[in-house]
């Protein structure tokens, strides 16, 4: 909810805090509420309700679509960001982080100062955090979600701190929590007083992640619950520190690239994006970025991507540090080169795409794709070759010109005939006489895309006296009440 508010306020005015705002996601029986603000919560709406029900009760409800994928990405980022406090952090549930701060509390001046620092740092990002520092992971999960906003307990008072919390604080599934409620076990304290043997017998067939006894033992520290922290993303960088300022980075590129490729080869990774940064002695730095069509750790190829750009870099009074880093890397297994000495055609093509894109720009190097449309000029689409595989080439049922003029050029009609194309017309100041023609092929405007008032087109393939073959069209019909008399355009040239 808070992330949505921050994102939305960057490009439009966020709705008033006094209004109930909910984020909706699609559920089995229509949209359901996935997040809501405080006003909505005060009105009695809760997450998981259906949007239509809530709207019926509260007509002023403001509904926005939820961005679940964005939330996940943010949480993944936060896992790594929170390693500023300790080396072991992991995701806990959909919106929780667990940090193993054993041994790093004194670095922040004690437990209270650490908790305060965490709250402040999250607040600086526009997020509110509920924190709890406990000896076990399960207790932290329960206290942070159901206890006070900032709480702390030592190893001796864990059971006392957990006792007043509801049983669902242990992380039980709704079914198990409801079952415990029916049994009269409303709080963790109630649960702890039940004899273990009867608990074990009653819940023997439940999985460990949903078993109240195991979860309780984990929360109270009787069973270990280790933290499985995801590894830090690897960062590949090669540096060249120079003793004296130099003006031309080219001689150092080969060594830098080899260093980087050695590091990549050790990790069995290949670079997809590269950044070369040049640090000038006056404190300025210049970066040049390059991308590759497929993961590569070929030093010569990576150097060639930067070939033409290095002469454009302004060296100022010289520079003394060059770094080459792989900003994005992908797994690339070691492959044996082919025994017959032939080169791998796919690798050759990927290398060609990289070089062409690096020099000419991403939008100039493209594969054709065909769009689902009738308009001839819209059928032939293009996608950047570096990012997409080549699309399937479709053939249209009718003959199409080999070259298309875009936009179509108007021709001047000299002799019009009632049916068919003009018998004489002038295009680019040359007079042509129609010898033969085929057509018409009528292409109607696409009402779902075109502006209202767009006129239909009748296409003719026209052959003129000397042999040129043109694709002419008449825009509109006489008396279609969409503008004046129809005009003629030349749209393409047949081979």
């Amino acid at each position: 909810m808070e992330r949505w508010r921050r994102v939305i306020s960057t490009y439009r005015t966020a709705p008033d805090e006094a209004l109930p705002v909910v984020l909706s996601q699609s559920g089995t029986h229509g949209p359901v509420i996935s997040a809501l603000n405080q006003t909505a919560r005060d009105r009695g709406i809760s997450a998981g309700d259906r949007v239509v029900d809530a709207q019926a009760i509260h007509p002023d409800l403001h509904v926005e679509p939820a961005d679940l994928r964005g939330d996940e990405l943010l949480m993944d980022r936060l896992v790594h960001w929170s390693r500023r406090w300790c080396p072991w952090t992991a995701l806990d549930g959909a919106a929780g982080l667990v940090l193993d701060v054993t041994g790093s509390v004194h670095l922040f001046g004690g437990a209270e100062a650490l908790l305060r620092d965490i709250c402040q740092r999250f607040a600086m990002q526009g997020l509110s955090a509920r924190v709890a520092m406990t000896p076990t992971r399960g207790a932290g999960r329960a206290l942070s979600r159901f206890g006070p906003a900032v709480s702390q307990c030592g190893p001796d008072d864990v059971s006392a701190a957990l006792a007043p919390l509801p049983v669902s604080a242990l992380g039980l599934s709704p079914d198990t929590a409801r079952l415990l409620h029916r049994l009269g076990l409303k709080t963790i304290g109630d649960l702890a007083q039940v004899p273990r043997v009867s608990m074990m017998r009653r819940f023997a067939n439940l999985a460990a992640a949903d078993n109240p006894l195991i979860l309780l033992d984990q929360a109270l520290g009787r069973v270990a619950e280790p933290l499985n922290a995801p590894p830090d993303p690897q960062h590949f960088m090669a540096r060249a520190r120079l003793a004296e300022p130099v003006m031309d980075p080219t001689p150092y590129m080969a060594a830098l690239s080899e260093d980087l490729c050695r590091a990549l080869a050790q990790a069995e990774q290949g670079a997809r994006q590269l950044r070369l940064t040049i640090y000038r002695i006056d404190g300025e730095s210049v970066s040049v970025s390059r991308a590759t069509a497929r993961a590569s750790r070929d030093p010569a190829h990576l150097v060639r991507l930067f070939d033409d750009q290095l002469s454009n870099v302004d060296p100022g009074f010289g520079f003394d540090l060059i770094t080459l880093e792989a900003t994005r890397a992908e797994p690339l297994a070691r492959v044996q080169s082919e025994l017959d000495g032939k080169r791998n055609a796919d690798a050759d093509l990927a290398g060609l795409l990289d070089r062409l894109t690096a020099r000419l720009g991403k939008e100039r190097v493209s594969w054709p794709v065909s769009e689902q449309t009738h308009k001839p000029e819209r059928v032939a689409g293009r996608v950047a070759a570096l990012e997409h595989p080549p699309g399937e080439v479709v053939s249209l049922p009718r003959e199409r010109p080999v070259r298309l003029l875009h936009p179509a050029e108007e021709v001047q009609v000299i002799y019009a005939v009632p049916e068919g194309p003009p018998s004489q017309f002038r295009w680019r100041r040359v007079l042509y006489k129609t010898a033969r023609f085929a057509g018409p092929e009528r292409i109607a405007p696409e009402w779902w895309r075109d502006r209202p008032g767009t006129r239909l087109r009748d296409y003719y393939k026209v052959e003129v006296a000397h042999g040129g073959r043109f694709w002419l069209y008449r825009e509109g019909l006489d008396g279609d009440q969409r503008g004046g008399p129809p005009r003629w355009f030349l749209h393409g040239l047949f081979a």
Partner: protein
């Protein structure tokens, strides 16, 4: 007929041309290395069709097509949905640049990459960068890698070039349409080979066969510009 050229013809890498004089022997023209295509008239797309029709069959890999801005504006963009009519089902890597210098650079990169099946480049007019040296570099690279390179030089009066074959191609009135007498039929081109390595120049009427062979067909041409009598000197591009 030399052995190696027969072999090339089987791979679809050379064009078989009948002699302009019907008595002489047919001599192949290699399409490996640089081939220049000059349109006979302004805005005439016959050279494009001729290049598409003479692309070698049976080669894997995409076709690289490079256009500069002037040829896009003057002659129009290549319209990809039409290429299947020329039997081209390979993807076409399309490059649109502004300056002829970049066209030549991209063509050189492509000519050195043996993963491509052909390179087609278009340069409008006769810019200074399109010098004899530039074409020679292209021709040598193409010969080294075995990738055929076609250069469409629209608006060029016929400057120097190191191309192994130079054609001037113009449109001719199409054949009779079997279904409709009023409609144009299959395209025919007036193909003049005005410079070639290892053979005499000549002038033919070229057509494209839309059958299983997907081949370019050359018919001898009478001096008055009409077709010579008889089709006995048909020649196929072996596929």
């Amino acid at each position: 007929m030399p052995e190696d050229s027969l072999e090339n013809a089987r791979k679809g890498l050379s064009l078989y041309l009948p002699e302009a004089k019907p008595q002489a022997k047919a001599v192949p023209v290699q399409t490996i290395a640089l081939t220049d295509l000059l349109p006979a008239r302004p805005f005439d797309p016959a050279a494009t069709g001729f290049a598409l029709a003479s692309l070698p069959q049976g080669r894997e890999g995409p076709v690289l097509w490079v256009q500069d801005r002037a040829s896009r504006q003057e002659n129009g963009q290549v319209y990809m949905p039409s290429l299947k009519a020329f039997g081209i089902t390979r993807p076409v890597l399309q490059i649109m640049v502004n300056h002829p210098r970049d066209v030549l650079w991209a063509m050189e990169e492509g000519a050195a990459c043996s993963a491509l099946s052909a390179v087609i480049g278009e340069v409008y007019g006769a810019p200074k960068v399109l010098s004899f040296t530039a074409t020679k570099r292209l021709a040598l690279r193409s010969e080294a890698s075995g990738v055929p390179v076609f250069m469409i030089r629209a608006g060029d009066p016929g400057g120097l070039s190191a191309a192994r074959a130079r054609w001037r191609v113009g449109s001719l009135p199409s054949t009779a349409n079997p279904d409709n007498r009023q409609a144009p039929g299959a395209a025919r081109w007036d193909a003049e080979l005005f410079r070639a390595r290892g053979r005499a120049p000549g002038r033919w009427v070229a057509t494209y066969e839309r059958d299983a062979s997907n081949s370019l067909r050359f018919l001898p041409r009478a001096d008055d510009g009409t077709l010579a009598q008889g089709d006995q000197h048909l020649s196929h591009r072996a596929g």
